[in-house]
Amino acid sequence: MTEPAPVLEIRSLEVIYEAGRRRRIQAVSDASFEMIQGETLGLVGESGCGKSSIARAVMQLPPPTSGRVMFFGEDLTRVDRLRLRQLRPRLQMIFQDSVAALNPRRKVGETIAMPLRVAGKVPKEKRNKRAREMMSAVGLDPALFGHRPFQLSGGQCQRVQFARALMTEPGLLICDEPVSSLDVSIQAQILNLLERVRIRHGLTILFISHDMAVVKNVCDRVAVMYLGKLCETAPTEALYRQPAHPYTAVLINAIPMPGAPLSRPEMRAAAADLPSSIDPPSGCRFHTRCPVARARCAEIEPSLETVGPCRQAACHYPLCNG
């Protein structure tokens, strides 16, 4: 018996933006990971480290500069436009700015029914009925069907986004900072909703966030990014208990914990600014801020190596091994 094909497999993904004359921003370089059915993978890192670029590259909006994006065994970067349009509904994304993600001129009910309209062949009454059912399923009062997005709160708009995405029965749901623009109390509601729909629909979720505390509660596995590169991938529990990459340790150390002793001073990043991705540092990209960097780190770039069961880290001197 061979293992079933992973839902999503990314190989040597590279995203380069042209920023004016001869200035190229390497947003993502050589990223590879895979996701299996029903898994929730957290993608964490500072702002501008390339998390959203990976998400957009997976969605082919726009396609990556190079590399492969295999979705249920089909390479999205190679398939023709018609096939891509057929596949797209199975890849859905929840955007951070929930208000901008909804057409202000359309009633929210119509927005939720839109996937069925684009797919065609479903009569209007049936579409609207399904939309109302989906509204109840995501905790929206179906009476809001005729409202416009600007009449709704941020949390409600986020629920509308979930409802719309779930209408297509997606094989992969990408959540790009789904709760960062919400109040803390609403964040919890939306995360509970995410957990509920994940179980009910058996969703595979790529969860992008810069909030380590949220990721810890939501994800099965975590991938940490720094300046366009993956530094570490590990099961959530192992990662938080004992990080292998110094950057992961710095991130975890920065989570405020009530009652816990003050963060360990040796695990703070140097106060230096985030280096520019136009001109990334030599060797290991983190060495300019790394608390444990040595001479070798500035010269040779570490590759992702296995450092334990199901975990990999790109560091010459991982904090834990085996």
Binding site: L61, N103, V118, A143, Q151, S153, Q161, L182, I186
Partner: protein, 304 residues
């Protein structure tokens, strides 16, 4: 920006007609009257608009004048009260006003439609596809904008000859760049928003996105702008009449009527002032409607 909890918003929102306000409806009533009379002009017992009566030129409103009512082969002489007086050639002003409304409204209403359709299409394409398409469209529009409009109108009249249709065509072409800009700016604004990307994620085609996602967000600013152009075009027709580039006589138009009266402005000001008043009210009404619409259809999206 978020309310503290997810309470459904208050149901008691102002209805659309309330949001428009009284001045909108007053303007609408005036315009409906003008359009109604323009359309049904033939059905009213009006004097002929091109019948000259040299016995009573520039008669003030309410004057009793001799009129020849054509009928039964032999003209019947009778006295008739001219409600708004006559112009410098003794033609009935009321009749000319009502028939002139046809000309002025045709120019005012058709011209922006030409600009809106062509300019809207080009502007949306430029804002949506960007790149080379946008560069070419913007460059062409800049050329049209830089070309003196009056010279263009003269050229059209010279090449195609005078006539209402040619004036409409020429003025319509001149409004395209402005509509292109309005459409492009609004397309740029919403094409970068995530809802366009989510439509793409649902497998929507480019045309589907343009028609279903972007057009509804672009059409209202365009309509509001078109209402301003309507009034601008009615005034422009008046200006052209002053230059002799207007609709050829004897077809009446408000602009031509105002222009005719300028020679007797001291002795018989009503010849110019009555059509000027009607044009003023009509233009004002279009402007008020445009303003009210803009306020009513841009309620909260502006806060985004």
């Amino acid at each position: 920006m978020n309310p503290p909890s997810e309470i459904p918003p208050a149901a008691g929102r102002k209805s659309f007609s309330e949001a428009l306000g009284e001045s909108f409806w007053l303007s609408a009533i005036w315009l409906v009257c003008v359009i109604f009379f323009a359309v049904t002009a033939d059905l009213w017992p009006l004097a002929e608009y091109d019948h000259m009566n040299w016995e009573s030129p520039a008669a003030p409103p309410g004057t009793e004048i001799h009129a020849e009512i054509p009928g039964g082969g032999r003209p019947v002489e009778m006295k008739k009260v001219s409600l708004l007086g006559t112009d410098t050639m003794g033609r009935d002003i009321l009749a000319r006003l009502i028939f002139g409304a046809r000309t002025s409204l045709a120019i005012g209403l058709v011209t922006p439609c030409i600009g809106m359709v062509i300019g809207g299409l080009l502007g949306m394409m430029a804002g949506f596809y960007r790149g080379r398409t946008e560069a070419v469209i913007v460059a062409v529009m800049d050329v049209i904008l830089a070309f003196p409009g009056l010279v263009f109108l003269l050229a059209i009249t010279f090449i195609l000859g005078p006539g209402l249709d040619h004036i409409i065509l020429a003025l319509g072409l001149l409004t395209i760049p402005a509509f292109t800009r309005v459409a492009r700016a609004n397309t740029l604004r919403c094409a970068r928003l995530e809802f366009v990307q989510s439509a793409r994620m649902l497998g929507q085609s480019d045309i589907g996105i343009l028609v279903q996602e972007i057009l509804p967000n672009v059409i209202w600013p365009m309509i509001v702008y078109a209402l301003l152009v309507v009034s601008y075009m009615i005034v422009a027709e008046g200006a052209l009449s002053f230059l002799g580039l207007g609709v050829p006589a004897p077809t009446p138009s408000w602009g031509a009527m105002i222009a005719e009266g300028k020679e007797v402005l001291d002795k018989a000001p009503h010849v110019s002032l009555i059509p000027a008043m009607v044009m003023f009210l009509t233009v004002l009404s279009f402007n008020i409607m445009g303003d009210c619409l803009r306020r009513a259809v841009h309620p909260k999206e502006e806060q985004l």
